[in-house]
């Protein structure tokens, strides 16, 4: 059975801190790994990673994938209160159709 495990499940930090969120996976027919940010609404897309070792960056957020060790990390530097959200990791897999298997998410709370 396909599995995506995120850690930690929740995290409280102060503004300005740097955080690292983890995602490990066991899936058949791996095709991509995605990170989404979910506030009190639908997930919004952050990154899609398909190749090992290539960092994707957007502002203070960055992510990298290790396909050998089957994990990805999402880094957020200089955190702000607006970063408070649930961060979801999903793995895209499938030999024919393409489907996402999600982890439970990491709830990040940034306090002033």
């Amino acid at each position: 059975e396909d599995k995506v495990v995120q850690s930690p499940l929740s995290l409280v930090v102060h503004e300005g801190d740097t955080v690292t969120l983890n995602c490990s996976y066991e899936v058949t027919n791996f095709r991509s790994l995605l990170w989404y940010k979910q506030e009190k609404k639908a997930p919004t897309f952050l990154f899609m990673l398909t190749s090992s070792g290539i960092e994707k960056k957007s502002g203070r957020l960055s992510s990298i994938l290790d396909k050998k060790e089957l994990f990805s990390i999402l880094n957020i530097t200089a955190t702000q209160t607006g970063d408070s959200a649930v961060y979801l990791c999903a793995v895209g897999n499938g030999a024919g159709s393409y489907q996402l298997t999600f982890g439970k998410g990491t709830k990040l709370s940034v306090i002033p």
Binding site: V4, R31, Y36, M48, G94, G96, S97, Y98, F102, K104
Partner: protein
Amino acid sequence: EAEVAQSPRYKITEKSQAVAFWCDPISGHATLYWYRQILGQGPELLVQFQDESVVDDSQLPKDRFSAERLKGVDSTLKIQPAELGDSAMYLCASSANWGTSDTQYFGPGTRLTVL
């Protein structure tokens, strides 16, 4: 920027009643997904459409749930009868092409509460 539309945003119903949710994907997107997200969990796929055809409904509880996308554009998800355990957020997502690693874009969701 094009968005996935869903309605209603919130629905409260009593158990054994029928409910229906509507989704309009981003224009031109061939693939449409319905997910269920229980509080504290990640979304779980219920059904996947390519155009008007169901390509995967293996996780859809077919005794009470049904989904259709008659013209290959918008879609309806129905629950009849609703049960207490159906309380969740129902998310619709779309992507441009079937079978490719295209990004899935999510709608705002319908939060269902079954009393």
